[in-house]
């Protein structure tokens, strides 16, 4: 009995877990279809008609709105994907058997975040290809890359917000809760309509919202930001701390109840 008790390599576990999470998300139309198609549909209504018209800072208004909906797309993948995904997993007690297995909790979490980033990347690439092919919107190659990189890197607070919803809401309430949280946030941050067309009180409160600074981070990559990049990053970091805290609390509360 003194023989060593080896464990599976973490890289192998992470790879297998990531692949499974990818299959699960891909095969649930509630995630895959919504997160990939909805931004394209919304952009067709709200963004495409303005392509070629002058926008903020002498930019193509279509480009400005394409970046807006890029922020909407990635944020949606994070808030909905994690919110609904975690809630459904809890509802079906999938976490129970996993918890008795040698799968480390950290690997499970990492795989979820990797898959979220993959789907976020996919959704924004589909949207940008659509915008440039159908809307004729042109940006320098480096600018496209910069926008996408900022959207992915800045999504941490939204991932944590998604986890918070996933641990607080039941599987049936989670979609409604994610909608009620995310859609007003996106709207009030000037993602669907430019801020100066929104009611005055919304304009006053927008600069305190996480999605506002998330969109600013992306807009500033095309020279249409209203605040320095450092300000956006600082706000997003602050919100990341807040939502990681709420997600951790919600997770611990659940773990204590179910596994205490």
């Amino acid at each position: 009995m003194t023989r060593p008790a080896p464990v599976a390599s973490l890289a192998r576990v992470l790879l297998a877990q990531t692949w499974s999470e990818t299959l699960i998300r891909w095969r649930l139309p509630a995630f895959s279809a919504t997160s990939l198609a909805l931004p394209v549909v919304l952009f067709s209504f709200f963004g495409l008609p303005f392509a070629g018209r002058p926008g903020p800072g002498g930019l193509d208004a279509g480009a400005f709105l394409l970046v807006s909906f890029g922020a909407f797309a990635v944020g949606q993948v994070m808030v909905f994907g994690f919110g609904i995904g975690v809630a459904v997993e809890r509802g079906q007690k999938i976490d129970l058997l996993m918890r008795a297995s040698p799968l480390p909790a950290g690997v499970s979490l990492t795989a979820k975040v990797v898959v979220g980033l993959l789907f976020g990347l996919l959704s924004v690439v589909i949207l940008f290809v659509y915008g440039s092919v159908v809307g004729g919107i042109r940006l320098a190659p480096g600018t496209w890359v910069s926008v996408i990189a900022r959207l992915l890197a800045g999504s941490l607070p939204l991932i944590a917000l998604g986890f918070t919803i996933g641990y607080l809401a039941g599987p049936h309430a989670a979609p409604a809760m994610a909608n009620l949280v995310y859609l007003p946030l996106a709207f009030a941050s000037g993602i669907f309509l430019p801020l100066d067309q929104l009611p005055a009180f919304v304009q006053r409160w927008a600069p305190y919202l996480p999605t506002y600074h998330y969109a600013q981070l992306a807009w500033s990559a095309i020279g249409a930001g209203r605040e320095p990049v450092g300000t956006s990053v600082a706000w997003l970091a602050g919100y990341a701390v807040l939502f990681v805290w709420t997600a951790t609390r919600a997770y611990r509360r659940e773990a204590e109840r179910k596994f205490g």
Partner: protein
Amino acid sequence: MSAPLPVVQMEGARKRYGEVEALRGVDLVIGRGEVVALLGPNGAGKTTSISLMLGLRRPTAGHARLFGLDPRDRRARSRCGAMLQESGVPAVLTVRELVDLFRAYYPRPWPAGRAIALAGLDDQAASRVGQLSGGQRQRLYFALAVCGDPEVLVLDEPTVGLDVEARQAFLQAIREMADEQRTVVFTTHYLDEADALARRIVVIDHGVVIADATPAEIKARIPSKRVHFRTSPELGPAALDRLPVRVLECAAGRVRLLSAEPESVLRELFRRGVAVADLEVTGADLEEAFLALTARPPSRR
């Protein structure tokens, strides 16, 4: 050389859920290669014991260890396969994909085909989990429990929801695992199932171990048959004296008894000249049998 560490070790393990004390001090040591049934009625504390062994829950007091380690330790879990009640798996994955996922959790897993075959799921390997019947799903959980080539299998009510035929095949598969010197711990509330599989039966009731012995010894102690009959005239107070029975009812000419050996009881009653009519001997349900074993007054339940 120190003695080999036990596979499962519980010392004075207690577990309280709010007001309810589900385990009230369980001591249990299970060695390598043992096949142990945890037997008890619903709510006895079987699932809680399993949860502590697997580190799904923490004991309120006392200890639970797996291979001498905290059951949450990945090194311990990498040597353990589990089947739980009411756990779920992602419905959109196929049987094969899910078995492959669980194989990746373990250092030296079986080939996926071996686990799928042992569970009798060859024809369903490419089916999505959501399309499986209840019995097939139960067998899938078994495949997930064995695919990592575990040294210990911990199975909570493994045959729940299986029909008779599937249950036999399933017991045979568990027996195969046991024959390979693996440790098997399973819960059940069927005495015959514990008898068929285990070499040791641990009876749990109201959160304590009330018996821990071989199946033969347990069967002799559990009054697992119910004897009903009518008598006329009514039995006198001495008629049932010194018989191996527990009297459930003896009034108005109706007699209900529990006994482990109804044949000898009846032989003795006839010898004493008791007039027996409408005789019926049936299997007692375990709840009743445990009442006899614990000698708790029936009014408590």
